[in-house]
């Protein structure tokens, strides 16, 4: 089995579901012959044809609205937003309709759609191509919000998202689309959409993160290890619903928690993790919770963007601050 990248794992997952479920289809801008601007749908139109891999007119509202209509009438659309910064026109359809179709019709209609959004900064892209906007959706009842951080988890989580009977917003950390390869068996095995993954065991401090920041957070854990500090690293993976129990179990062991995310700090999803720590884990904590996040500013154009994104150094420094408290 050849090792594949995260984005190839996404393609593999979509192809698997297109093969096994006739109701699954892909729609978006340039997803057909071009295979998507990131190539996530590369080769799909050759295997499944233009009736299942559908190029849309250049309008995000159209992609989202058609998807809601398709899903309500028995199809399982996988909609692609071309970039995080272009998805805002879709929000109306996702919040006012997809998220509450089942609820407001008492189950008469439902909306089993996936909205895939290439997410985040760090690829030296033009303006509006680098947004970390997951918190817009984590506050919306009726949605699931997912963000993988490895090829294997990308495959398993996307399978689960496509099979889920409710709408899933699936953020794809584009900075690590091609970061590394690993073997991903095309076995159709989905991962659960309500668990965090412990990527590294440790006893001194818990590092909680998701998406592309898993990379820096694991590197920070390596750096801490060299100084004799044992960090546990948790990939949240599914932000909504949040598996707080896994985070809590870790904090019971370490008493310290650093939350790392790329989005701006205020009301970012880290605030929810911190709030639940305050509610449920106050007496397990021996140090204040730390957040290492993007700043409360728009992500800079690319000359400065790496100064904005959480760095290994900032994560290590925050972890050490928690360890300075005893």
């Amino acid at each position: 089995m050849a090792a594949i990248t995260l984005i190839e794992a996404l393609t593999q997952a979509m192809a698997h579901e297109l093969r096994t479920d006739a109701n699954v289809l892909v729609l978006g801008e340039d997803v057909g012959v071009n295979g998507g601007v990131f190539r996530a749908t590369s080769g799909l139109i050759q295997e499944f044809g233009p009736e299942r891999i559908i190029d849309t007119p250049l309008d995000e509202t159209t992609i989202a609205g058609l998807s809601v209509g398709l899903a309500a009438q028995g199809m399982k659309p996988i909609a692609e937003a071309q970039f995080d910064g272009f998805m805002y026109p879709m929000v109306d359809h996702i919040i006012c309709h997809a998220a509450r179709m089942r609820h407001r019709t008492r189950g008469r209609l439902s909306c089993p759609m996936v909205l895939r959004i290439p997410w985040g900064g760090g690829i030296r892209a033009p303006e509006h191509h680098s947004e970390a906007n997951e918190a817009i959706f984590t506050n919306v009842p009726g949605l699931r919000v997912v963000m993988p951080s490895s090829p294997q988890r990308a495959y398993g989580l996307l399978l689960a998202a496509i099979r889920d009977p409710d709408p899933v917003v699936f953020f794809e950390p584009k900075r690590i689309y091609r970061q590394y390869k690993e073997e991903v068996p095309d076995d159709g095995e989905a991962l659960p959409l309500d668990v965090c993954f412990v990527l590294r065991d440790g006893g001194d401090v818990t590092l909680v993160t998701w998406g592309a920041q898993v990379k820096e957070t694991l590197e920070a854990a390596d750096a801490l290890a060299k100084e004799g500090i044992s960090a546990e690293v948790i990939d949240v993976a599914t932000l909504k619903p949040l598996d707080f129990d896994t985070i809590h179990e870790s904090v019971k062991k370490t008493g310290r928690c650093v939350i790392v995310h790329e989005a701006p700090r205020t009301a970012g999803f880290g605030a929810e993790v911190a709030a639940q720590l305050a509610e449920k884990a106050m007496f397990d904590l021996v140090a204040p919770v730390e957040r290492v996040t993007g700043y409360d500013t728009h992500i800079p154009l690319f000359r400065l963007e790496m100064k904005y994104l959480p760095s290994v150094d900032r994560i290590v420094t925050a972890a050490k601050r928690t360890l300075a408290v005893s």
Partner: protein, 357 residues
């Protein structure tokens, strides 16, 4: 150089405001006493319902309600021009269309009475629920039409939107997508002249709203929306075209909102009584009554008997609505997901515990 495009928008009308035939080429259903009186009776029925619903709101037994007064021909015409396995994507006042499709008045009242079960209605289970955000339903209908086309089902998606809604991005996006994909899609722009307080001429510089379909490559037709013969004929024409793979249509149904936007609105703030008085001269029920009486197909005795029947029907529905118990408190969580995630289940349990205290 041979370029440039010209277009024309036809206007369809059979009966004028006085109920006189202005187009003798009547469709077959209009030559049939049973069918035409049936449409008339449906219009009376929905007006009886509407009058009662407004009264319920005024006496505190219903929440904010969007009246359908004056829209009877457009709504009954749309509902009766479709087949049951077609899909209707309404905005929020097309009760006449929905009654024709099997929705019960008690369900309309439940919805405006603050109960989601009104959207779990007895009409076709695939029909979309009421759509308050304006215009978004047009794209959902286009999505449904895309599903029908992909599955090769001979079905049509019909969306309703207002003159105000014709300005929305979503409405224009739906027209565009329907043209680009050749979808079995019919957009009924119910032009009632008022988007709350903003008049039709402030929505667009276009001479007609029907021509909004021209740029998308759809067939376009302007219709007298107070003439139910014209509305039903136009809808049947558009639905048939769509069903046979000939593409989408935009119908502008020209009518007038005789009531307030909703019971929370006061139209006297922004429009003259004189305009409303004139609009009453063109309203849909009166003209068809004239025509039916002229044919000898209807009289005042039949009218009184039918109205009594309608009122009894509405009263029974109101009783059923008022007798419907409030949903249990946990119902606010029970339809969010197919299976409740742990966080929803936890909050559901908390609410139940609070109730039991």
């Amino acid at each position: 150089m041979d370029s440039g495009v010209r277009f024309e928008i036809d206007y369809l009308q059979y009966l004028d405001a006085e109920g006189r035939v202005v187009n003798p080429d009547l469709p077959d259903f209009a030559k049939d006493r049973g069918q035409l009186t049936g449409l008339y009776k449906d219009m009376l029925k929905v007006r009886c319902f509407d009058t009662k619903a407004v009264a319920l709101q005024r006496t505190g037994k219903l929440g904010t309600y969007a009246s359908s007064l004056g829209h009877e021909a457009t709504h009954i015409g749309i509902g009766s021009g479709m087949q049951l396995d077609d899909v209707l994507a309404p905005s929020y006042r097309e009760y006449g269309a929905q009654f024709v499709r099997g929705v019960k008045p008690r369900e309309v009242l439940l919805y405006w009475g603050g109960d989601e079960r009104g959207n779990d209605f007895s009409g076709p289970a695939h029909d979309f629920a009421w759509c308050v955000p304006i215009g978004t339903q047009c794209l959902h209908a286009a999505g449904a039409a895309l599903a029908f086309k992909l599955r090769k089902e001979p079905r049509v998606a019909v969306a309703c939107v207002g003159d105000g809604g014709s300005s929305k991005t979503d409405t224009n996006a739906a027209i565009n997508a329907a043209g680009a994909y050749g979808l079995p899609f019919v957009l009924c722009i119910i032009n009632n002249q008022w988007a709350i307080s903003v008049p039709r001429n402030a929505q667009t510089g276009a001479q007609t709203l029907a021509q909004k379909g021209v740029a998308g490559g759809l067939e376009c037709l302007q219709v007298d929306g107070n003439d139910i013969i014209a509305v039903k004929a136009a809808v049947e024409y558009a639905v048939k075209r769509a069903r046979h793979g000939h593409g989408g249509t935009v119908l502008e149904l020209v009518t007038y909102r005789l009531g307030d936007h909703t019971t929370a609105d006061d139209a006297r703030r922004y429009r003259d009584d004189e305009q409303v008085k004139q609009a009453w001269q063109r309203e849909p029920i009166k003209r068809l009554k004239h025509y039916l009486m002229l044919q000898g197909w209807w009289d005042e005795d039949l009218e009184a008997a039918w109205i009594a029947e309608c009122n009894a029907w509405v009263d029974a529905e109101v009783d059923a609505y008022l007798a419907t118990p409030v949903q249990p408190v946990e119902a606010m969580f029970d339809y969010l997901y197919a299976e409740p995630p742990h966080d929803v289940a936890e909050q559901r349990a908390q609410v139940l515990a609070l109730e039991k205290r």
